[in-house]
């Protein structure tokens, strides 16, 4: 079975919003190859009647055109289903793993957590077996035992480990964390009597387990084998005397290492991107309380891409780039970016993409809107959306840059570059983009404060605009479609003109038509000024970057460029 066909089958399932072709055809996965192929044939026949139906057109045409490929895939239904499963798992397993790791960081694992994780796994389409394997593997790696068997209440009260919900081999710092947590849980209990009992039990457990000597004695008394010494002493030296009650914590307040929330997302909710300015892309700035690794995924990877797919484990502050891909075909859709840190902190950022004004046939410009940001911390719950930026350097580039260098070090590209930890003091900023004059400037970066540097790039030279006849002809090398689709720089033989009297400056609009028709693609420009033979230069066009993605054959996008003509 060829990879290409499987890819098509997968794409089709995604297009029709089904998990796999069986689901789409309304068949059980146990159906035989013949059954499912007959059903597919039937479906294709049905779709033949729907191919001009605007609602089903895309689906119907895809099925008709790729029927051969899909049919081939279904000759081996088992291999196909296997591939689907593998695909789903490989997409979602990292997310699950991160969640498991986050839970296991607590050093204990109870039944409730297992069922939570198992539920997560089912939601992510991961089989029970794979989930169990992942759980076993990770708990072994992190030294956390499988959930303790359910103990009777009496046993629970008498077993100090059970009271705190930790394993016997747990190192001391984990026991300390568990103790504090148990204490907090107790405080949150609405019945004062029960709360007191729980607190007392937790205090008692910590008094015994917090001191290595009493713990050893306790272990011997309960008949447990002594855990390896190494495990017990991996944690930091005790900060508190075991008998001393812990420092009281504010409820829901900062915890774990460092101060402040563990995951912060910066930015204003409800923002539009890509309305004629900049790419159809957004940047999510986030800060973790301590450097943390983690995973970042998009719920609709086929059209909403997020980069990078991991949090960088050594950075506290990072920038994720969210891009709307040309594969976006719907008129309107919602997708979310999920961030899961290694500690199990989760954030969800919901985007809505829709086409503005244009229909699926005409559009080039799609708009991405950030709708909500929700951050859920693994322990406690806290939502943090900070307006404005974190300390750091933001360079806004109009229209956009191929490369942004700070003191000779590349910081990225695009229309906005965020440098989380810039060197304070004077720095050399250099922004370059083909066809534009390289921008160089020294900037003064204040320590620990946000700084935004706007950069407006100017086009290099008159771009070879020559008067000829009654039109100005010119060749313009323009990277019109960048990043969002494959870069396609075209040389254009086209005209820009304006009626202008000598000595006067005239502003106007130049429209650029991006055309993709048949298999031909190209860019055309037309100006709404009228030509004049005496116009000699055509300069300083403050061009907003054109980021369009032709979606279907024959799409048009009209992008307005402002230009100034000086005689």
């Amino acid at each position: 079975m060829s990879k290409k066909n499987l890819e098509l089958a997968h794409k089709f399932a995604g297009l029709v919003g089904a998990g796999n072709l069986f689901e789409y055809l309304g068949l059980e996965e146990s159906a035989t190859s013949d059954e499912v192929r007959a059903k597919l044939r039937e479906k294709r026949k049905y779709m033949q009647g729907m191919q001009s139906n605007p609602k089903y057109k895309t689906q119907a045409l895809f099925l008709i055109k790729n029927f051969g490929a899909l049919d081939t895939v279904l000759t081996q239904p088992l291999a196909y289903l296997d591939d689907v499963r593998r695909r789903q798992e490989s997409e979602h397993l990292p997310v699950l793993e991160m969640t498991i790791k986050g839970v296991l960081k607590g050093g204990r694992l109870n039944q409730e957590q297992v069922s939570f994780l198992s539920h997560q796994a089912t939601e992510l389409g991961i089989s029970e077996q794979t989930f169990q394997e992942a759980l076993d593997r990770l708990s072994t790696e992190l030294g956390v035992a499988a959930p303790l068997p359910e103990l009777s209440d009496a046993e629970k009260d008498s077993n100090h480990y059970a009271v705190l919900g930790v394993r016997q081999e747990a190192p001391r710092d984990i026991i300390y964390d568990a103790y504090r947590e148990a204490y907090r849980d107790a405080k949150a209990t609405p019945e004062p009597a029960a709360a007191r009992t729980m607190m007392e039990a937790a205090d008692q457990a910590w008094r015994v387990l917090g001191d290595p000597r009493t713990r050893e004695a306790y272990d011997i008394s309960t008949g447990a084998t002594a855990p390896p010494a190494a495990a017990r002493h991996t944690g930091p030296a005790p900060k508190h005397a075991p008998t001393a009650p812990p420092v009281r914590q504010r409820q829901g307040g900062p915890q774990a290492a460092g101060v402040g929330p563990r995951l912060e997302i910066f930015g204003e909710p409800v923002r539009d991107f890509g309305v004629g300015k900049g790419p159809v892309a957004d940047q999510i700035r986030l800060r973790t309380a301590i450097p943390m690794s983690g995973f970042v995924t998009s719920t609709a990877p086929q059209w909403l891409k997020v980069e990078p797919a991991h949090l960088i484990a050594t950075n506290q502050e990072q920038v994720l780039k969210v891009t709307l891909l040309p594969e976006f075909e719907e008129a309107e859709a919602t997708a979310a970016i999920h961030i899961v840190t290694e500690r199990g902190d989760r954030a969800q950022i919901v985007y809505e993409a829709h086409r503005r004004r244009f229909s699926p046939l005409t559009v080039g410009i799609a708009v991405l809107t950030l709708v909500t940001v929700a951050v859920a911390l693994a322990v406690g719950s806290m939502t943090t959306i900070k307006s404005g930026g974190p300390p750091g350097l933001t360079i806004q580039i109009d229209p956009s840059a191929d490369d942004v260098l700070l003191n000779g070090v590349s910081m990225g590209d695009g229309s906005a570059v965020f440098v989380p930890n810039p060197p304070s003091g004077r720095a050399k900023l250099r922004v370059s983009q083909r066809n534009f004059r390289t921008y160089e400037r020294d900037i003064e970066i204040p320590p620990d404060q946000p700084l935004e540097v706007p950069v407006v790039l100017e086009l290099t030279e008159p771009m070879d605009f020559r008067p000829s006849g009654d039109m100005i002809q010119g060749t313009l090398e323009q990277d019109v479609v960048q990043r969002v689709m494959k870069p396609r720089s075209k040389s254009m033989d086209d005209c820009i003109g304006a009626v202008a009297e000598p000595g006067k400056t005239l502003s106007g609009t130049v429209r650029i038509h991006i055309r993709q028709s048949g298999r031909a693609q190209g860019v055309e420009m037309d100006g709404d000024g009228i030509s004049n033979p005496r116009v000699r230069t055509c300069l300083t066009r403050q061009a907003a970057a054109v980021y369009v993605h032709p979606l279907e054959e024959g799409d048009y996008a009209t992008v307005r460029y402002d230009y100034k003509v000086t005689l």
Binding site: K65, G469, K490, A520, Q521, Y556
Partner: protein
């Protein structure tokens, strides 16, 4: 060799409607009506058995009853790879389905005219690429027609329109918005020469899109009220589509239309005003406007430079399109042109001009036409200022519409034809047609870094016939063969363009890098590309014809033809 007066059927194979015409023995083009007696035939095929189908009006009626066995808008898929439709266990390519329509037209014409029709000229939208053109030619072959040439629809329309304006110098904008395709072409009529100056379009925009807007609007209203979507089922969808189509048509003459929706026992009547309809489709109109502006810009013309705006295609009946062009051009569009018929009429004329140079009607009239052209020129020279748009038809008192109607021939306005004072004016002049390419043609070469790159040899908008000579060189030492890959489309990388043909020159002596090789592209009026590859040093050369391929091999075509012959077409 065909007889000089043997018929050439001009066929306008449209997305929603097709029409055909021939040039009668008096040299007048006339529409050939179908068996049902209509000037146009819906391009709809209904398969009711494995070897039987209905084409036309009757097939349209089956859409609601048997939606899964009815094909519409097949033209939109011409030239698409892997696109096949399944009817009664057989897979049909778009070519084969179009062939059934062509066969119906051919047989109806034979019945009406009383003799066999062998040759035809088929029109395609100017913006069709080579695969689409090739597929159209293949459809003709399958239908058993000898397709003499494939010509552009706007060119054909301009021929039909410009016939009685020959002799002057006029600039013409042909705005062709059909059921599924859209083209704008600027043409110049100078003397007896018709030249395409620039052309652009969108093979995926047409009246269908207007219908869809209306349909979506109605379906959404219905959904809001009943949470049911009539688009979800094939038959109710088709029924609603028909109603929307009719509403669209009536909105051209009325301010208001109502669209009844009946789905799963729920009923609703959605009223739509013309203003609402305009609002729903504003962006489509904008797109038309943009394209028209681009074409004019490419032609280096302004709207006021145009002498006429010619509206072709049924969708140009919509007031919003008429208003748009009137607003742009500052004057009403040329009247009296039947947007459904002029393309096939022009195709019939082009067929005679090109392929029956010794047609008796042509010969008889030519001398008179040429002398009349000279006369007009002389008159122009004498009084150049007022005669901007010379009206060669003598009776200037007669409304323009009637004059054009006459030029179109007897079938419709036979009475008017008889009343014409100077019958020789309606004969056939010797017209030269110059088309222009709409897609650039190029060649795949290796650049200095030995990376593949596509170099454009014949740019889009080049007037045909055209010849290009380019010099290339050996990319490697000691090559013994050179391969020229002909590409079509805009782009500098191979994956951005389509390779439409290959020519290999083999058996060359091994020589160093840089040995010159000459490549000549000659693009003829019949849209056929001749490629010559010449080894400059030895003089060895290879010539090949690149024919537009629609994606079927000749075996496939001939087996499809066998099947087509077996098929009963009603």
């Amino acid at each position: 060799m065909a007889q000089d007066d043997e018929i050439v059927l001009g066929i306008d194979l449209g997305t929603t409607f097709s029409a055909m015409a021939h040039v009668n023995r008096y040299g007048k083009p006339e529409i050939v009506t179908n068996a049902e007696g209509y000037q146009t035939t819906p391009s709809v095929v209904h398969f009711y058995d494995e070897d039987a189908c209905i084409v036309g009006e009757e097939a349209v009626k089956m859409v609601v009853i048997d939606p899964h066995n009815v094909v519409r808008f097949i033209k939109r898929h011409m030239g698409e790879e892997h696109f096949t439709l399944d009817f009664f266990g057989r897979d049909y390519t778009p070519q084969e389905i179009s062939a059934l329509i062509l066969r119906k037209l051919k047989e109806d014409a034979e019945e009406l005219l009383g003799f066999e029709v062998k040759d035809a000229v088929v029109t395609v939208p100017a913006y069709f690429n080579s695969a689409q053109r090739g597929a159209t030619a293949e459809a003709g072959q399958i239908a058993g027609l000898n397709v003499l040439s494939i010509i552009n629809e706007p060119t054909a329309a301009a021929i039909a329109y410009g016939l009685d304006r020959i002799g002057g110098k006029r600039k013409l904008l042909v705005f062709d918005l059909g059921g599924g395709t859209f083209d704008v072409t600027v043409m110049e009529i100078r003397g007896t020469r018709l030249t395409t100056i620039s052309s652009d379009g969108n093979a995926e925009l047409g009246g269908k899109d207007w219908d869809d807007r209306l349909l979506n609007h109605v379906a959404e209203q219905f959904y809001e009220k009943f949470q049911l979507d009539p688009r979800d089922d094939a038959a109710p969808y088709q029924e609603l589509y028909e109603r929307c189509l009719n509403a669209k048509i009536s909105l051209s003459s009325k301010e208001r239309a109502v669209i009844p929706v009946n789905y799963r026992g729920q009923r609703m009547v959605v009223p739509v005003t013309r203003d609402q309809f305009v609002e729903l489709t504003q962006d489509l109109v904008d797109q038309c406007e943009d394209t028209a502006n681009i074409v004019l810009e490419k032609a280096r013309l302004r709207w006021e430079d145009l002498d006429d705006v010619l509206l072709v295609g049924g969708s140009t009946r919509m007031p919003m399109i008429r208003d748009l062009l009137e607003g742009l051009a500052g004057k009403p569009a040329a009247e009296g042109v039947n947007p459904d018929e002029c393309v096939s009429l022009g195709a019939a004329l082009a067929g005679v001009f090109r392929h029956r140079p010794n047609h008796p009607a042509l010969l008889a009239q030519r001398q008179q036409m040429v002398s009349r052209a000279k006369e007009v020129k002389r008159a122009e020279r004498k009084a150049p200022a007022p005669v901007k748009a010379p009206e060669p038809v003598a009776d200037s008192g007669r409304p323009k519409a009637a004059a054009i109607g006459l030029a179109y021939g007897g079938s419709r306005v036979a009475g008017g034809g008889a009343a014409a004072p100077e019958p020789e004016q309606y004969g056939l002049p010797g017209v030269t047609i110059e088309d222009a390419t709409t897609h650039p043609l190029g060649i795949v070469v290796l650049d200095r870094n030995r990376e593949e790159r596509v170099v454009e040899l014949i740019p889009a908008g080049t007037r045909v016939p055209h010849r290009y000579k380019g010099r290339f060189a050996y990319a490697y030492e000691n090559m013994t063969a050179v391969r020229v890959e002909v590409t079509e489309g805009v782009g500098s990388r191979r994956d951005e363009v389509t390779v439409i043909g290959k020519v290999e020159l083999t058996g060359l002596p091994p020589r160093p890098r840089g040995t010159p090789i000459e490549v000549i592209y000659s693009y003829g009026v019949d849209q056929i590309l001749q490629v010559r590859v010449i080894d400059v040093e030895t003089g060895k050369e290879k010539e090949a014809q690149i024919q537009f391929q629609g994606g079927m091999t000749s075996d496939q075509v001939s087996s499809a033809r066998d099947h087509n012959r077996r098929m009963a077409v009603d």
